[in-house]
């Protein structure tokens, strides 16, 4: 079986994101970019499944401009066998990304597609679910454990009420939560080796093209700020202050 993994290039999670003064978006010039953390987890899981002998090939795919090749190379250095960049400039909304992944799925026929549960830039949390719908296949979102068993996967999902378990027939789409695994570090020799691994570029139009139905994004504003409040000396002063404010 092949496993297809989504890799989105996003602003690194450690960066203090600032809204541009003209409200056109957030500042990305000169900002550190990384693999979306959930996608690193997705790739790690795919690699572990392959290492356990349950998959033959791990393919990483990113939809975006050639800047994304940096993150795809990191994915190859982590251990993916090959990479595909679906060429597109500018932002793409989840329905379009899902359609592009559907095109990749039809070409590659993976047994499992693993995406992140959400991209930490747009925080949409939609793409995996949309791909599963368009493909007519099962989805197991927010996975914290995946157990493969022949033609199916039993997935533990992190839901508000606790841990839910479902079994899905393969092929299926799984989206990752943070506790699925801890991604490995990339070693220097692997970075060298990754340079020789295949990275194909496919125009978005070859995969069914853009979907339309885009939402129109307008102004971006910084969130209302919470100010630094007061400091109290000890527990007694804290309790007094809370009582004073009618909170206890």
């Amino acid at each position: 079986m092949k496993i297809l993994v989504g890799i989105k290039r996003v602003v690194d999670y450690n960066v203090r994101v600032r809204v541009r003064s003209d409200g056109s978006g957030v500042e990305t010039d000169g900002v550190k970019m990384s693999i979306n953390p959930f996608d690193e987890i997705a790739l790690e899981e795919a690699l572990r499944i392959k290492e356990a002998g349950n998959a033959e090939e791990v393919i990483v795919a990113s939809i975006g401009s050639n800047a994304c090749e940096q993150q795809l190379r990191t994915g190859l250095a982590m251990g993916a066998d090959r990479a595909i960049r679906v060429d597109h400039d500018g932002p793409l909304q989840p329905l379009s990304v899902a359609k592009a992944f559907l095109g990749l799925v039809e070409r590659e026929e993976p047994g499992l597609v693993i995406l992140g549960k959400q991209a930490i830039d747009d925080d949409n949390n939609q793409t995996g679910q949309m791909l599963a719908a368009l493909w007519g296949r099962p989805q197991a979102t927010f996975a914290s454990k995946i157990v493969l068993d022949g033609g199916s996967a039993t997935v533990t999902r992190e839901v508000d009420a606790g841990l839910e378990t479902i079994t899905v027939d393969l092929p299926a789409v799984v989206t990752t939560d943070l506790r699925l695994n801890e991604p490995r570090f990339v070693k220097l020799p692997d970075i060298m080796k990754a340079k020789r691994k295949p990275l194909d570029v496919v125009p978005l139009a070859d995969l069914g093209g853009e979907a339309g139905h885009d939402l129109a994004y307008g102004n971006f504003a910084p969130p209302p700020k919470r100010e630094r409040g007061i400091m109290v000396e000890d527990t007694a002063a804290l309790v007094a202050e809370l009582k004073n404010r009618g909170l206890l």
């Binding site: 508000d160 378990t165 079994t167 943070l178 007061i230 809370l242």
Partner: protein, 312 residues
């Protein structure tokens, strides 16, 4: 005029408060509001939904393949039920986030996640970049508006309604490829994090599951819900459903008290809408103090027993 369909979230017996929050969001949009209750033997849940103020009709569809909220089955039913509606809404809980994008794709439209404010029938505000920016977004004319309502942004709509309950047969069949195995809930019988008036949270500083008991003791005195940072969950001190933050629960209690939590942006995102934030941390430079309304630089293992005593 808008015709809004809200997808009820429930556990088979009880309607989740997120549903009434989505109703508030729908009221801000304006128009006719109906609720869709899917499941098996859901008469009781439909009755609860009908009691929410401002709801016209509750459509109740009971079928064996809808018993558990499996997205593969529910999305197909929702897409069929969406016919004739201008808007389809659900709470932005793990339930809404799982089911609704699948329904949106079946309807062929993009979806708005986490509506935090309504600017017009098709125009909204939503947080992006872990709440570091608030974006205006609108849905193109002609497309069904499919959206989740950010639960921390909307109060629960009041009770006192008397909507008509309309039972109708399922329009979908079992997808056959997805099976529900079970749910293991982590939390005990403490107040629900997402609706509790007071929430106490603990971080990595606790060091063990046993030490968390000290937080539970104080929480129980205050009838408070208990949350945690990701670090505390990852370390296994508490179950995952207690995680507060960007990738956990986004909550808005009247009073939030953080013990031994540094205040990473991903954590702060989850508590920005709280009424009053209290931070107890032994490091005076901890970032959480930058946003705390009341700060106390102290060792939590000293403060918690004192709190227990002083709260009588």
């Amino acid at each position: 005029m808008s015709k809004i369909l809200i997808i009820a979230e429930h556990d088979g017996d009880t309607l989740n408060p997120g549903t009434a929050k989505a109703v508030s969001c729908a009221q801000a949009i304006g128009g006719d509001i109906d609720i869709l209750v899917l499941g098996e033997d859901i008469t009781e849940v439909a009755t609860q939904a009908a009691a929410i103020d401002g709801v016209t009709t509750v459509h109740a569809t009971s079928a064996a393949h809808l018993a558990a909220p499996l997205a593969a089955n529910w999305a197909a039913e929702i897409a069929a039920a969406a016919d004739g509606y201008s808007h389809v809404l659900a709470p932005s809980s793990t339930f809404g986030k799982d089911v609704l994008p699948r329904a949106a794709a079946l309807l062929g439209v993009n979806m708005v996640s986490d509506i935090a404010a309504v600017d017009g029938e098709r125009s909204f505000k939503r947080p992006v970049y872990a709440g570091n920016a608030i974006a205006e977004v609108s849905v193109p004319d002609g497309d069904t508006v499919v959206a989740t309502a950010r639960t921390a942004s909307w109060p629960a709509a009041k009770e006192g309604g008397s909507a008509t309950v309309n039972e109708r047969p399922a329009a979908s069949e079992d997808a056959g490829h997805t099976r529900y195995v079970g749910l293991e809930s982590g939390g005990g019988d403490r107040p629900d994090l997402q609706t509790a008036r007071i929430v106490l949270s603990g971080g990595r500083a606790f060091g063990s599951a046993e030490n968390f008991e000290q937080l539970y003791t104080v929480a129980d005195k205050l009838k408070a819900g208990v949350g945690a940072s990701r670090a505390a969950v990852d370390a296994g001190y508490v179950p995952n459903d207690m995680q507060v933050g960007q990738t956990g629960k986004i909550i808005a209690p009247e009073l939030y008290m953080a013990f031994g939590i540094s205040g990473a942006i991903q954590h702060i995102t989850g508590i920005k809408d709280a009424g009053t934030i209290v931070a107890v941390n032994k490091d005076a430079d901890a970032p959480i103090f930058e946003i705390a309304d009341i700060g106390l630089v102290a060792d939590l293992f000293t403060v918690l027993p004192e709190l227990e005593q002083q709260l009588g």
